[in-house]
Symmetry: D2
Amino acid sequence: MQAVVKEKPAPGLKVATVPKPTAGPGEVLIAVRHAGVCGTDLHIADWDDWAQHRIRPPVVVGHEFAGEIAAMGDGVEEVADLKVGQLVTAEGHIVCGHCLQCRTGNGHICRNTRIIGVDRDGAFAQYITMPVTNVLPLNGIPTTVGAIMDPIGNAFHTVLTADIPGSTVFIAGCGPIGCFAVGIARAAGAAKVIASDVNARRLELAARMGAHLTINAAEDDVVRTVLQATGGEGADVVCEMSGVPSALHQAFAAVRMGGRVQLLGIPKDAVPVDFASEIIFKGITVYGVIGRKMYETWDHMRRYLTSGLLDPRPVITHQFPLARIDEALAAIRSGGAGKIILEIA
Amino acid sequence: MQAVVKEKPAPGLKVATVPKPTAGPGEVLIAVRHAGVCGTDLHIADWDDWAQHRIRPPVVVGHEFAGEIAAMGDGVEEVADLKVGQLVTAEGHIVCGHCLQCRTGNGHICRNTRIIGVDRDGAFAQYITMPVTNVLPLNGIPTTVGAIMDPIGNAFHTVLTADIPGSTVFIAGCGPIGCFAVGIARAAGAAKVIASDVNARRLELAARMGAHLTINAAEDDVVRTVLQATGGEGADVVCEMSGVPSALHQAFAAVRMGGRVQLLGIPKDAVPVDFASEIIFKGITVYGVIGRKMYETWDHMRRYLTSGLLDPRPVITHQFPLARIDEALAAIRSGGAGKIILEIA
Amino acid sequence: MQAVVKEKPAPGLKVATVPKPTAGPGEVLIAVRHAGVCGTDLHIADWDDWAQHRIRPPVVVGHEFAGEIAAMGDGVEEVADLKVGQLVTAEGHIVCGHCLQCRTGNGHICRNTRIIGVDRDGAFAQYITMPVTNVLPLNGIPTTVGAIMDPIGNAFHTVLTADIPGSTVFIAGCGPIGCFAVGIARAAGAAKVIASDVNARRLELAARMGAHLTINAAEDDVVRTVLQATGGEGADVVCEMSGVPSALHQAFAAVRMGGRVQLLGIPKDAVPVDFASEIIFKGITVYGVIGRKMYETWDHMRRYLTSGLLDPRPVITHQFPLARIDEALAAIRSGGAGKIILEIA
Amino acid sequence: MQAVVKEKPAPGLKVATVPKPTAGPGEVLIAVRHAGVCGTDLHIADWDDWAQHRIRPPVVVGHEFAGEIAAMGDGVEEVADLKVGQLVTAEGHIVCGHCLQCRTGNGHICRNTRIIGVDRDGAFAQYITMPVTNVLPLNGIPTTVGAIMDPIGNAFHTVLTADIPGSTVFIAGCGPIGCFAVGIARAAGAAKVIASDVNARRLELAARMGAHLTINAAEDDVVRTVLQATGGEGADVVCEMSGVPSALHQAFAAVRMGGRVQLLGIPKDAVPVDFASEIIFKGITVYGVIGRKMYETWDHMRRYLTSGLLDPRPVITHQFPLARIDEALAAIRSGGAGKIILEIA
């Protein structure tokens, strides 16, 4: 089958022919229709520091996808209500299911996590196998949306672990996940959603997803604007989605006394924090967001996407066939893209 | 001044001239503009069992209102950011502020509560005095809405003490508070809101407030309809706003396993409950709703009403001048009315 | 192998020789050492209404046990850190793992639950097979205690879903689970634990488990005593462990305004409830307790039992060899027994 | 009357004669019996940077105390169940009671807070006046303990905003508040309490308060020791009570995946944080602790101290008469002191 492969420990990705996998016991074989391209894939292509320490080539990349069940391994039919031909997506973090974290509903921080397209073969391919536990039916959600439920899930995890109804929410960073977060905050009844970025096209996407107010952080005073828009109190909830040090400090300055800061963006290096004024004297709560809650976040997504509370499609700005992966990566590098999807079948 | 008075321990209310009150230390004198008429006022007029045990005539009735600050007693200016001429409403439960419940944020269940229009003079009058602690600025909310923030607050307390974003919510009983609850559930991001009542006009109001589905409990099978509308699971949250025994059983039958039932409607007599099948084996949580959380619920209202998340005005079906209180009570008795407002100034 | 069997749809249990089971894929074969005898086993023996509707003989009874891993089926070693010879217990509710409830951490209310010793062969036998997901290592907990972690888990679920540190806790009903609940409430930092029962020997067990105050409900005024012991406020948390209608009403009367009532005891018939005075005007929360949270409750047990925070052994009053099951049932019928254990290996 | 006064903007404190205050409307005059000496008093004496920006001399210092009601101003008797001669303590943060934070139970982060002994006259004096809202009856708690309920309250706020029963708790920093936190964690049912400090005498106090394990951070590897003591998982809850940068990093390294870090200690300068590895990828929650929750924390203290769940007296290592304030400050400077109390009446 065709697949996008990291062949060797050096920059670049290659479209290659690789063996089609088969479904082992407890596994489902899925014919991939659409897959999402992510910044992580760029790190792997560019062979940066993180990639050099984590990736063991050769490996099929890609961890966001949706497709059709092509076959089911032994034992699947007995435990799950799935059938061949059904459209599904899948959680890409494969967890052990037996550690303390997994057994207490915190599989997203299982230490034995293996990620598809990173630690084993992934989804930029005509077929992929997944453990049945990770397979989620689409129930009418289109495969273009199903293909990006991994990053949409990051946004759900970020937003819905705060108390949103009636709140003012400030979202720092309007990449695709930030834009999804804007739409989720609106759908969950935020009284006011404010979004900031340095890129005007990203701010347009945030506005299309429902932001009441957008702030160009390259031009305007972010903290002052948020304070003005919140009667001087600051935002009840701040979602830091950029990983940029200046945005982190803005997050702490723009949250109200006793508010909540959700951290999803990953700063590259250590950031000096004045714990007294930024966290302790403000009496705030800070939460580190990783992955998606298994499977609470997926249940949230099912509810919002099938009921029409959230339509994430405005964030999808580009679609490319699998073979044009290089153009997809270039679009991400350009900075102004929203979410990019590969068409596989 | 003019006021609606319960003069003696017998049925009836009278429009009479009574002395205008003055603001003592820590009190605010308010010129009432609009007041809401409530089922409680009907109980007092009809002099039913509850009224005979609770009311000590003579007393000015009415506990829902909004108006303009006419004067402020000693010490008010030092503690509160209020001024003469400002439009305000007020929490009608006057609590002690010093008991365990008050000191731990549970003033709504203070045992020393005194209610205006019930335990002391109320708001169907040209003027009323209130302790400054109970006075809430309207900040642009119109006085017709401010006049009914007491029952709107009951609905906020009922709905927002459950987890609403993405949930299916079933509201049993579409009196004014039930209709407000429909609108609040929608605003807070419920995936589906289902409402039942036996009165077609009330169901129309519920639909106008945003119910996705209405059920006429006199004609259709309520539980079966809720189950069908929730994929067989039952509703995540049920708000029982009617106090009718059959609706209580429907609430327990229509909630999903592990769901939450909020009880606001007051059944007149004891209701036999099969704890095993209705509560325990379903693993549900049941919450008794009384009054409004002081002042968390009022903060919620401020946020929803000033941001436009909720517009409760479709529920207001009648307005009468103060002198026509009897027509207002008759409209409530008719069964099909929404919220009824007295115009005072 | 030897086992206690419900052979036919009629009263009685029989000690019989049945085939030794073998571990299928994903299953673990356990040589049972100790098993707990429960009121449910009595219902099955007596062939009461519930049993006639639920049990399909022949079936090996018993659902509480601990023992030694004798063999592991295919695929077990890859997913779980278990080995032959290890001492383990097991959750007796076998859930589907794929429904909404299971996927969101609420396996205890999975609608597809099958219970060992009820819906399939159980633990009053020399060997039992269990799905690997249900098997929990004892990590030094003795098998006599491991054998009764099912009912201890009911008590943990009941107590720890309330806020216990610093609280006053009233436990109505001092059967074994009530007595465990007393010890757990003490270990979790309750400021005062009050226990009631009609049986003096059970009250002695409750006192041995740490109750500060015991009330003989046959002799004393339960509600008045709880109010006196709580400064007139009522208990913060009430755990109803008896299923007796009078105790249910005492639970509602003895809980403080805004408190929490945990319901574990199963009333046989419907109980009339005055929702106004017993639940709504008190602003309380009522929670239906079923089974154990999978696996949060088991994690709690591991922590309390291995750290020495809780020693449940005073509640064990009788031990019998498997063949003397009839004596075990008779001891339960006598009313004054604590927990009863079968010695199997 | 005699008082310890900061007379002018320069180092030093002076024992002086100042006018005895009188109780205005809504105020209570308290004859101070015991007062606690705090690091803040040392900052004021030493006239450090913080003091120079915050203190406006002359001011009576001291913010922790207990004493006897000597007189009550107008209006006090009507609202509060207090009387002359009663032993009381008081919350030293005087908040506005009318802002968003105050009205939603978050008075501890009211922006209009004025602190006794800092922003107005304090408690190192024979008499002090307090608003009646801030006065708390001792109900049998001795005045030596009542005098230090302010810092004990910091510890309660820190510990009880985490989930303690059955948890492993690591407390970094064994000053008086850290030692109180050890005792509170034990009382609230922690499975294991681990404490670290660089001072052996402080570690002895922590052990006396119930720490299962103490770590001398000057000699041992703190993180490795905590990991070993928690089966390699890390602690469920970490309370950072030192403000030392190395301890902050140890807090993040020693907390388990998904755990909670409570921050009370105030670092002097900015501390570089690697958000990726220290917070985000661990999925942890960080909470900034300031003051005491009004009045939830005081209710917790009342429950623990009157029931005997906590005895904080082992932490009191020194008592001095008021006039010997300089010796009290010297004892704090020495580093090995626990809590120090001034005897006033």
